[in-house]
Subunit: 507 residues, 2 copies
């Protein structure tokens, strides 16, 4: 840590909250962020760096003496920014969006500035109550039935992410089930999901002690648009019960990761009610779209679910992190998660103590961020934001479809995710010529090879960033429209780049 | 959601990242925060509000049209701020501090502004590498042995909070143990902690499927300064093994919640190594103090631990949230937590994919915040900050000791937490007079009653905020010095208020 301090350095009192400094530095940082956004469009979306590139540029030890904000920002600019994948770039179409906005940023600033912790109602009453209000607001925006709202006997909470939400509901469902079947039966418990469900459910179930072999991914099929088939679920439950296992949890999805597929909530709900499973609905990405009336039919039957989660930080302009979770019976969750330290004794039943709704004790004041975002933009603009992305995705999908000589849509788009691949026409593979029948056998892998090559070339150009999925024998590209800065011209340009790249590898 | 939009409202394109607006609004919000801090000292630390006070003031539905930032901030000021417990007040001495700073706030602003997600190295390389650098920096600042540093074969990660860190290590230890003893043995696994350990360990262990009766809180004693006794641990392990159980995890603490007690790390470490338990050391609050050489002896023997966690957001000026965790064998953790989605395939062993070091997939860019805090202040100022708080706490403790006619220190202060209670001298309880012998029997509960009354009166005055603990028959007050704004005059004034209030209830 370097040499000892000279007397000079420690002579003045250190004041980490000097308000004049706060004003100067916040201007510096805001200007920096503004410049970052101004130049974002022209930056390579994914950096061309090798592992160790940054570690090797930074000192091995922390500085002993403080440095100026100017020096720090200069290093951010020269060393760090060039090594970032720019999730906010208008040319970022990989994974799912993490959509930022001015209101999201201002909400985060307020959250960090006030820096209160509402783990119990009394530890900061307004923090808890604002969260109660915001989760009810959003429940109504999505047209969730009153049973998921505080005003209707249910309630909600803001977690950091879906895995936290899923983990908490899994634990609640496990404990409720073990109360019924005996607390030595954890090895018998079975979780269901589909082969399209996000791996979060596997991770969460494993974390709460479910045996990996009892986490069952039911196969989905093209004829069901890759939604989980209710009959398959029923058959699996019956078979497992016959084998002495205890089915206890189902995770359905609105907008799966790979394809944006939707599980049939109502039909699945009927099955789980019959067998008394906990039914969680994960709307991490596409749940947000249900603020638009035209998407709300995907939630039909949601009153049969026990819990729902949705990441506002994905598509609702809320910056990282903010995951909504609603429950029909918060009491079941609280029974599982409540743990009392004597100095944290909660109050009456009238008060919500959010420490009992989540994994941790401390928590950020995310509610104020969400409240700022919703108020600043209003439901109307949030709807417009979703519709605009969906319409740009539809435009992109149309362009891909129109180029059917080379491209193929692998799954009909439901939201703002377009899944496509290359279609090779030349019956020449690795220098060998195939006839039609033979060719059908090698085609998927040949198409996959070319599609992967296409994606990698586009990504390494820095002009756009896409991700892909290997599903069975087929590799396809996922193009998500969702960055707050993406305009129609970016989508048109993306398509131009993809076509040019495709021509270069498949002339 | 109100009436339909008029055509006018949706005619202009909605731009959630207008840069002129960003500049204007960030000034508004920064000014708001500055004014908040300017008035913080005079605000009642805990608000006098009743459940429902805020819910009843806010509309039941989200606004359909957007509102201006001025309107929103005016509501924050008039409706929300008066209902907050002000954790950043210089008169806040409850729980543990959640220390803010200008650098912490600027770090959060950069984190939210850049808004990247480094769940794998390749999903934003600089985010991952900066985190590698920062956890190594902090490891060296605490003088942790090289085995916990990336540069020495270990490594670290930034979680949101201690419960996440503990949960991850519990899962890793569980899976490692079950590999050895069989995956049907989860009901046999035993976790050890002391009766002073934070309830997080109970919550975490229950979450990963450990039976509540197998989570064993060993009783601590005054003669060991409420540290966990190594012999008690050994006896418990031996007894449990004889009973067919499988001891697998110990949580030790540096700076317990109630008292700031410290478990004897080296002696406990020797026992756990003998029986091959996972040894986690929780330094949530007082771990930070070990950046000062005079506190580093508490870490003696830390090389015998498997993992260590420390909340920088408590005492290291880092705003919520940031919990450091270091591991000797990251591989064991990764084996337990890795779950692959095909579109998230990680890279070579040279790259750290942080999704496999934590519960969730998405994650905030906390590393840039910590990096800004450490660079802006340097190790020297961070040390000064800790020392200044400790010295103010020592001053407070001295004043309490000097007033031994009425007050009693219940546990010798180690860091910046002072635990004290009232000492009643009048042998009159509920109107009845007692002789000396009889009185010894009723004294603790009488003292506790008065101490609780003292705390509640001070808290309801709004002039300061303290928390208390009921430990056995004794209730005492915890006074933590740690708010970034607290100066000596606040501590002196706090003592004045406490004395006056004590006189009013015990003339």
């Amino acid at each position: 840590m370097g040499s000892l301090p000279s007397p000079h350095d420690l002579s003045t009192t250190f004041n980490p909250m000097d308000l004049t400094e706060l004003s100067t530095e916040s201007r510096l940082v805001t200007d920096f962020i503004t410049q970052y956004y101004q130049t974002l469009e022209t930056r390579p979306v994914q950096p061309l760096v090798k592992p160790g590139f940054l570690t090797s540029q930074l000192p091995e030890d922390a500085p002993f003496y403080g440095e100026s904000m100017e020096e720090i920002l200069s290093d951010v600019n020269e060393k760090i920014v060039p090594g970032l994948t720019h999730w906010q770039s208008p040319n970022f179409h990989a994974y799912f969006p993490a959509s930022s906005s001015n209101a999201g940023l201002m909400g985060e600033l307020l959250c960090s500035g006030l820096s209160v912790i509402g783990f119990t109602w009394s530890s900061s009453p307004a923090a808890t109550e604002l969260e109660n209000v915001v989760v009810d607001w959003m429940a109504k925006m999505l047209n969730l039935p009153p049973c998921f709202q505080f005003s209707g006997g249910g309630g909600g909470v803001l977690h950091s992410n879906t895995c936290e939400a899923v983990l908490c509901t899994l634990a609640a469902a496990r404990d409720k089930t073990m109360e019924r079947v005996g607390d030595d039966k954890i090895n018998k418990l079975v979780v269901y999901c589909s082969d399209q469900t996000h791996f979060t459910i596997h991770k969460g179930a494993k974390l709460i002690g479910i045996r990996p072999k009892n986490i069952k991914s039911l196969t989905t099929r093209r004829e069901n648009e890759y939604g989980l088939c209710p009959n398959d679920l029923r058959n699996a439950i019956e078979a497992d019960m016959k084998a002495g296992l205890v089915p206890f949890y189902l995770c359905g999805t609105i907008g799966t990761t790979a394809l944006g597929a939707v599980d049939p909530i109502k039909e699945l709900g009927k099955v789980v009610r019959e067998y008394d499973l906990w039914f969680h609905v994960d709307g991490a990405y596409a749940g947000s779209a249900c603020i638009c009336p035209e998407f709300q039919h995907y939630l039909d039957g949601i009153e049969l679910a026990d819990s729902i989660s949705m990441n506002a930080h994905k598509w609702l302009l809320s910056n990282l992190d903010c995951c909504f979770m609603w429950l029909r019976s918060p009491k079941t969750l609280i029974q599982s998660l409540a743990a009392e330290g004597t100095f944290l004794k909660g109050g009456s039943e009238m008060m919500v103590d959010y420490k009992d709704w989540q994994i941790s004790l401390s928590r950020r004041f995310r509610a104020i961020k969400m409240w700022v975002v919703i108020r600043r933009y209003g439901v109307s603009n949030l709807i417009e934001h979703i519709r605009s992305d969906v319409s740009m995705a539809a435009r992109f999908e149309e362009m891909v479809r129109a180029a059917s000589d080379r491209f193929e849509i692998v799954f009909p788009r439901k939201f703002s995710l377009v899944c496509f691949k290359l279609r090779s026409n030349k019956k020449m593979v690795n220098g060998r010529k195939f006839n039609d029948d033979e060719y059908e056998g090698v085609k998927p892998s040949r198409d996959s090879e070319l599609t992967r090559e296409l994606m990698e070339k586009v990504n390494s150009s820095g002009k756009a960033y896409l991700s892909g999925v290997q599903m069975g024998r087929i590799f396809f590209i996922r193009c998500v429209i969702g960055s707050s800065l993406t305009e129609e011209r970016h989508v048109d340009n993306l398509w131009k780049i993809i076509q040019e790249t495709a021509r270069s590898i498949m002339p």
